[in-house]
């Protein structure tokens, strides 16, 4: 089993898929290194089966590859703000 099952990582990043724009081509699914994007079984109002990324295990790293391959600018990527540790 994955380590996250036993020791869940904090959410580092997430993506937001706009169902209005997504045409369900699935290129994001293939390009996600974490394999956490899938195609929904529910038709969106657009008429397409949109991509979805529930990511319960907080695997998303915010690499943006899904957004960069998306032909429909349907994906926004959010990343956790770095905590200012006063390193310098």
């Amino acid at each position: 089993m994955s380590e996250s099952k036993t020791q869940k990582k904090p959410k580092r990043a997430r993506i937001a898929i706009d169902e209005h724009f997504c045409k369900g081509c699935g290129l994001c699914v293939d390009n996600c290194p974490q394999h956490i994007i899938s195609i929904s079984g529910t038709v969106a109002t657009s008429g397409y089966y949109p991509a979805q990324c529930p990511d319960p295990e907080n695997k998303c790293t915010g690499c943006t590859l899904c957004a960069r391959i998306c032909p429909d600018v349907a994906i926004e990527v959010f990343k956790a703000k770095k905590v200012d540790g006063g390193a310098h």
Binding site: A13, R14, K23, G26, S46, Y48, C70, V77, A80
Partner: protein
Amino acid sequence: MNTEAQEMERIFERPRALRSATTHYCPGCGHGITHRLVAEVIDELGIRETIVGVAPVGCSVLMYNYFDIDMFEASHGRAPAIATGFKRARPDLPVFTYQGDGDLAAIGIAETIHAAARGEKFTTIFINNATYGMTGGQMAPTTLVGQKTATSPTGRNCETAGYPIKVCEMLATLDAPSYIARVSVSSAKHVLKAKQAISKAFQLQLKGFPYTFVEVLSPCPTDWHMTPQEAVEWLEENMFPQYPLGEVKAPKEGV
């Protein structure tokens, strides 16, 4: 630590140069990716309010509905002539044409070659998907030998239909162009490189370098009769050997 509540910042969003509009492109089409790359570069270079684009005839004829910039709509193949006329009148404004393979490499090849030969100071983004997309998947000048299309139903026969045109290599025989590169939008990795090339082309134009040209190998799942996944695989397997990626010509001094 409450992870869900952790403050998130948006690190990837729709570029300002693109309107919030659903495109008419088919699922998995490379036009949408390339549009976004061009728009991102426009944003990053801060030229949205000065740039003027020229849309072709073909699938991307309606691109002015998606780009929030001043644009011409050309007739089939004449975008380089329009860009020439405009740029000669307004050399202070950045200009680009966006053309498909039928538009650029068939009906508009003369305008393309002569704009390149004159070293016109605009950028051309050339979408090569080896087919006529808008009219329903007919044979293009860039259709591969053996590739089945609506007008080469048994595959392009080089005895009767000749061979695909390698536009980058052909233009690279000219003295005037400063930058000629071929990229692909078939995977996220290639998309990153594609953006670098598009950015370099625009930056060179802004620095006054003559004719800059980026060919984008782009999937057309619908007219290739494939799923988007099959299309990108077919592209990499079949188009990469025929159309090698990389900079075919670039100025010695970098950007």
